[in-house]
């Protein structure tokens, strides 16, 4: 397909403290007991995109991620793991590995994406329109995360900020506007020239940028070279391309320029235009071409470039693990509503209990639950809508609801865990009550402790 994929796997994201630790970078956070990165890799594999570069922030994290990938995907994918310095931003990360890029088009995907939208479809849309960039958009969940009841009040103020503001043309194929930075805080500023050219623009607040982009490589490299202040793909580079689409500054001065602009173009262009029109079901040339022509045959034909979107259908799942809330939500969704993503086959009770797990008497594991390999549970326990990792030792009379318990966790008798995340190697002594808490790796909660809405972690030295 001549697509090269760059997976931006991040590093030790500060937003996810205390879930991430020195041993577990963001990419390896478990979603239904396997690293989140595996969801992206398998998604790409399904679309037959096997030539990958995984970019990780920080050498340590890169080492961990690299180790895991070489173990899990050794024969299946051709993966290169590249380490880049921390905090250089998504554009910075791409700049750092730009010399590795050789294919005609580059697919950039965030490593924290959990989705079942085929990236191949995005790539196809990109090629069809001969776009410089194609972004994948997903519909926002209708009522937000399931347990947003508690944050109902905040919802109204957060709403506009959480989703993206995206301007599309009438056919919903071209990206005309994307809100950035201050515009999310203040008023939207819409370029009149674009609006004039297209006539009608729909601004949607219910779409999420899935952070999966297809770029034309020459364009990507050129911009990264020239605009050395650009830090973020989403906030700098993409808005820049969108803004300048009718007055393209891209020179196409890379190597493949001749084949792109010279005589071959003339021959193939017509076919391409025709084809794209048939595919896009429009009988008239789109506004880019009209604008390019100018009117009254003005001497300087304008250069334009196309920014496209691929809008995933509403039934598809798409989420990014970029906050603690998202971590809980995604875990719950993967073992619940979208369990086909987990890759496991669920039992008749709609749950997965590893054959090697041991359950005490009168212990119930409800639907939408997962119990990992070698975990043991005492008597009269109850597990609802939760994920429990490998080799956990859980005492008796323990209640676990809406929570994620990672590997090697010890839970004493009579604990109650609700809406919380308990990381690996944590020890909860007897009668601990956690509600909406996060417990960092290796932490010990002393017997009888009661916490609500807190983040517990070992002090970093």
């Amino acid at each position: 397909m001549d697509f090269q994929v760059v997976v931006l796997a991040g590093g030790f994201s500060k937003k996810l403290v205390p879930l991430v630790s020195k041993e577990v970078p963001k990419a390896l956070l478990p979603v239904a007991n396997r690293p989140v990165l595996s969801y992206v890799l398998e998604l790409l594999e399904q679309s037959n995109l096997k030539d990958l570069i995984v970019v990780v922030e920080g050498e340590d994290a890169a080492f961990l991620v690299g180790g895991w990938i070489s173990g899990a995907y050794v024969d299946r994918l051709h993966v290169e793991v590249a380490a880049v310095p921390e905090d250089i931003g998504t554009a910075g990360a791409l700049r750092a590995i730009a010399h590795h890029l050789t294919a005609k088009d580059i697919l950039v995907v965030s490593g924290d994406l959990v989705s079942d939208v085929p990236p191949g479809a995005v790539a196809a849309a990109h090629r069809r329109h001969n776009a410089v960039v194609t972004a994948m958009l997903c519909s926002a969940p209708v009522s937000g995360p399931a347990d947003s009841g508690s944050s109902g009040v905040k919802d109204k103020t957060k709403k506009a900020g959480r989703y993206n503001l995206i301007g599309l043309d009438r056919s919903k194929q071209f990206l005309l506007y994307i809100a950035t930075g201050a515009e999310l805080e203040n008023d939207l500023r819409i370029q009149k020239s674009i609006l004039r050219a297209v006539g009608e623009m729909e601004i949607c607040a219910d779409l999420i940028d899935a952070h999966l982009y297809a770029f034309k490589r020459t364009v990507l490299q050129e911009i990264l070279d020239q605009k050395d202040t650009f830090q973020s793909l989403k906030e700098d580079l993409l808005p820049y391309l969108v803004r300048s689409q009718l007055k393209s500054e891209i020179l196409f001065n890379g190597a493949p320029q001749p084949e792109e602009n010279a005589n071959e173009k003339v021959a193939s262009q017509n076919n391409q235009v025709l084809l794209s029109q048939i595919l896009s079901n429009s009988s008239r040339p789109n506004f880019h071409e009209l604008h390019e022509l100018g009117s009254y045959g003005s001497a300087s034909s304008r250069r334009t470039h196309k920014c496209c979107v691929y809008i995933a259908s509403k039934s598809k799942y798409c989420a990014r693990l970029n906050s603690i809330q998202a971590f809980s939500d995604i875990n719950r969704d993967v073992i619940g509503e979208v369990n086909h993503l987990s890759g496991y086959s669920f039992s008749a009770h709609n749950n997965i209990i590893h054959p090697s797990a041991e359950l005490g008497s009168k212990t119930t594991v409800g639907p939408h639950c997962m119990l990992g390999e070698g975990s043991q549970m005492g008597d009269k326990c109850s597990v609802k809508r939760s994920v429990i990792g490998r080799h956990c030792r859980i005492g008796s009379n323990v209640k676990i609801v809406n929570s994620i318990v990672m590997n090697h966790v010890t839970i004493g008798d009579g604990c109650s865990i609700q809406g919380s995340v308990v990381c690996s190697n944590v020890q909860l002594q007897e009668r601990v009550v956690l509600k909406d808490c996060q417990v960092g790796a290796g932490f010990v909660v002393i017997a009888g402790g009661e916490y609500k809405g807190e983040s517990l972690a070992k002090k970093e030295k």
Binding site: D187, L188, R189, S193, E202, D206, D236
Partner: protein
């Protein structure tokens, strides 16, 4: 381009049950409250100007009648007598089931005044159609009316439905084919509610700002630039009372629509109804006049076409290629009449004369070897041999002596005489009346382009004479034979640069000349350049700011000055605070400013006032500030709904200290403290200001440094508070 389709005749097919309860009423404004058609409108009201040989108002009334309107209130102001006497001689007073009532006013200067007057008369009892006498349509009102009524039932705040039509403005001139400026609207795609309306677009401003809150309430909005306002509104009676409540509303769109959209306190809503296959257009300027005339000739407006609609006995015959000829015309054998041309009754045309794409009225005498192209020649015009007319408008009674030439875009008002072999330069406006001297009073300047057709006394005087016995005046003028218009010419050429008229070519009947097109194309290129250039700037956040700021700056300066003047007047005349708020609000609307801008401007004025009050030492100055803030804090507070505005005030304050009034800078901290104590500025705002400045240059941080002690105190106080809380 949404070219209108030919619509079948929609006669009075409305089912009577629906409308029986309340007869459908209409308010027809027979005064455009604009000066676009000057000098012609100095002598005759716009609604009586002939459009393809029929006064415009005929089309409007014919449509209203066919659309099922039963009662029309015809509001006339300028030249009211002429309108009334025209109606008296027309068929309209005698129609069954169609009642026309005139309402006459002499002192209304705007549509707002007109509607206020109609409200006072208490004649409107239900939903009504609001339309001006220069609008042409063949749409059926049923759908729009029904939609309006259904919405109204569900939501009593839905007071108006605006009829719009798809029409993409030209990418070059950014004006629609009717010569109006491109319009930007934001519409809710599901409910069709109008959320944003911007006409009269500032061509320099490269971006459009949309309030983010719109997107909190609606999951998506549609921005449109390919829409044209038909100026046909279906209104609920509340609209009239809204005009009365807001006595500062003048213009229907600029004030009323914008006012409702900006002010969400009352929650009134405006909806749009898009028509697709029927015709609706308003004659707004000469270009619109030209376009609509052609549309009529080409029958887009059916049944409002010359051979169907005809006045009295002057029947017109449609021939091939869109030629309409009255029956009694005297046409020489060698005269050529081209396609899309209308010739009125009793007109004679000499030999070898060529007329194409033009309209010629009644009783005209056209000599030999005349060339008329794309022009509008009204009634009783004499054109002598060898004249040439290209894209011109020639009013009643004009005499063109032999060999004279009208260049494109010329408008000859009533009874002008063009001298022999005289060449009238392009875009000239010629009238027997002198151009009104520059209006210099404030009020008139402000409404310079939507001023009424009422004349200043001098001009009215001349006009009366003209209408009465013009012979005296006429002969007087005849005396100085070599006038501005050549030998034997009579009339004055108006100087072109009159305010908004400077871009004559935009609104003229003449096609836009090629060099102009090239010129604007260049401007557009530059414009685009500008946009991308500022994105070149190292704006790491990728905002689109600089460009707009530069252009908005002028506005901001004017706005500030106006606010200051208002404020000072309020201080001197002891105006109540509430009234000042009202005045500043109206300024805000007209300049399209945010609350933060108002707060900044008000604060600026307050500081100016404190400074202008006599003082001899810093302490006295501080006391002055104290007093001013005390007296006017209510005014300032009304523009401080949130933190952002407060921060704006602090930033403004810094700017004042740095630029205009350096005397205040030593007092920065004290005044900031004062504002804090008066609860005008909250500590959150101060903290945010501080953190905003954290990364700024040293020079920018002068005041943060100065206020350091205060800031520290503030933080400690807050911590204390928190500790207390615990």
């Amino acid at each position: 381009m949404g070219a209108p389709k030919k619509a079948p005749a929609r006669a009075v097919s409305d089912d009577p049950e629906d409308l029986a309860s309340v007869p459908l009423q209409a308010v027809l404004l027979a005064d455009s409250f604009a000066t676009r058609f000057r000098p012609i409108t100095l002598e005759r009201p716009k609604v009586l100007l002939p459009l393809v040989n029929l006064p415009m108002i005929e089309y409007t009334l014919a449509w209203l009648e066919s659309a099922g309107v039963e009662e029309v209130f015809l509001f006339c102001c300028a030249h009211a007598k002429q309108v009334i006497s025209y109606l008296e001689n027309s068929q309209w007073y005698a129609q069954p089931k169609f009642k026309v009532t005139t309402i006459e006013s002499h002192n209304s200067v705007s549509a707002g005044d007109a509607l206020r007057l109609i409200y006072e008369r208490n004649v409107i009892h239900g939903d009504f159609v609001l339309i001006s006498g220069d609008t042409l349509s063949n749409m059926s009102l049923m759908r729009a009316l029904q939609e309006h009524k259904e919405r109204k039932k569900k939501d009593s705040n839905a007071v108006m439905t605006m009829v719009v039509q798809r029409s993409k403005p030209s990418p070059i001139t950014q004006q629609s084919r009717l010569g109006t400026d491109g319009l930007f609207m934001a519409i809710d795609p599901t409910t069709k509610q109008l959320l944003y309306y911007e006409e009269n677009t500032n061509h320099l401003k490269g971006t459009l700002s949309i309030d983010k809150m719109l997107l909190v309430e609606n999951s998506s909005i549609t921005l449109r630039n390919d829409i044209q306002d038909c100026y046909i509104d279906i209104c609920s009676p509340e609209v009239l009372s809204l005009f009365t409540d807001n006595f500062d509303y003048q213009h229907l769109r600029r004030h009323f629509v914008k006012g409702l959209l900006v002010d969400d306190i009352m929650g009134y809503k405006i909806f749009t109804h898009e028509i697709h296959s029927s015709y609706a257009a308003r004659v707004d300027n000469y270009r619109g006049y030209d376009t609509i005339s052609k549309d009529i000739i080409q029958r887009w407006t059916y049944p409002l076409v010359p051979d169907v609609l005809s006045l009295g006995n002057s029947a017109t015959n449609l021939e091939r290629q869109g030629m309409y000829r009255a029956f009694e015309i005297g046409q020489s054998r060698s005269a050529q009449i081209g396609p899309h041309t209308v010739i009125g009754t009793n007109t004679t045309i000499g030999s070898n004369t060529k007329i194409t794409n033009s309209v010629v009225g009644k009783n005209c005498a056209i000599g030999s070897n005349v060339l008329i192209e794309g022009s509008y020649v009204w009634d009783n015009v004499t054109i002598e041999d060898g004249c040439e007319l290209r894209h011109a408008i020639v009013c009643d009674g004009v005499i063109m002596k032999s060999g004279s030439v009208l260049k494109p875009g010329v408008v000859l008002s009533f009874k002008v005489v063009i001298g022999q072999n005289f060449v009238v330069p392009p875009y000239s406006k010629v009238s027997l009346l002198k151009q009104p001297t520059k209006q210099d009073s404030d009020e008139e300047l402000e409404y310079a382009d939507n001023d009424s057709d009422t004349l200043d006394p001098a001009a009215t005087g001349t006009m009366d004479k003209l209408n009465g016995d013009s012979s005296l005046e006429f002969s007087e003028m005849q005396d100085h034979v070599s006038s501005e218009l050549g030998y034997g010419g009579v009339g004055y050429i108006w100087s072109i640069c009159e305010g908004s008229h400077e871009e004559e070519w935009r609104h003229s009947v003449a096609p836009i000349p090629a060099e102009k097109v090239a010129e604007i194309t260049q401007v557009i290129e530059d414009d685009l350049e500008l946009v991308s250039q500022d994105s070149n700037a190292p704006a790491s956040s990728g905002e689109l700011k600089p460009d707009t700021q530069i252009n908005a700056e002028d506005d901001a300066v004017y706005f500030e000055k106006e606010v200051e003047a208002t404020f000072l007047r309020a201080v001197n005349e002891n105006v109540e605070v509430d009234h000042v708020i009202l005045e500043v609000n109206s300024l805000r609307l007209s300049y399209n400013m945010q609350a933060a801008d108002c707060a900044g401007a008000v604060f600026h004025s307050m500081m100016k006032l404190a400074l202008d009050t006599t003082h001899s030492s810093q302490n006295e100055l501080l006391r002055n500030v104290h007093e001013t803030v005390n007296t006017w804090q209510k005014l300032l507070k009304s523009y401080l709904p949130g933190k952002d505005e407060e921060i704006e005030v602090i930033l403004k304050f810094e700017e004042i200290c740095l630029e205009s009034v350096r005397e205040l800078s030593p007092l920065f901290t004290q005044i900031l403290h004062l504002l804090y104590e008066k609860d005008i500025i909250t500590e959150e705002a101060i903290e945010d200001w501080e953190s905003e400045k954290k990364d700024a240059d040293e020079a920018d941080r002068v005041f943060v440094k100065q206020a350091e002690i205060f800031l520290k105190w503030l933080r400690e106080a807050e911590e204390d508070d928190e500790e207390d809380d615990e």
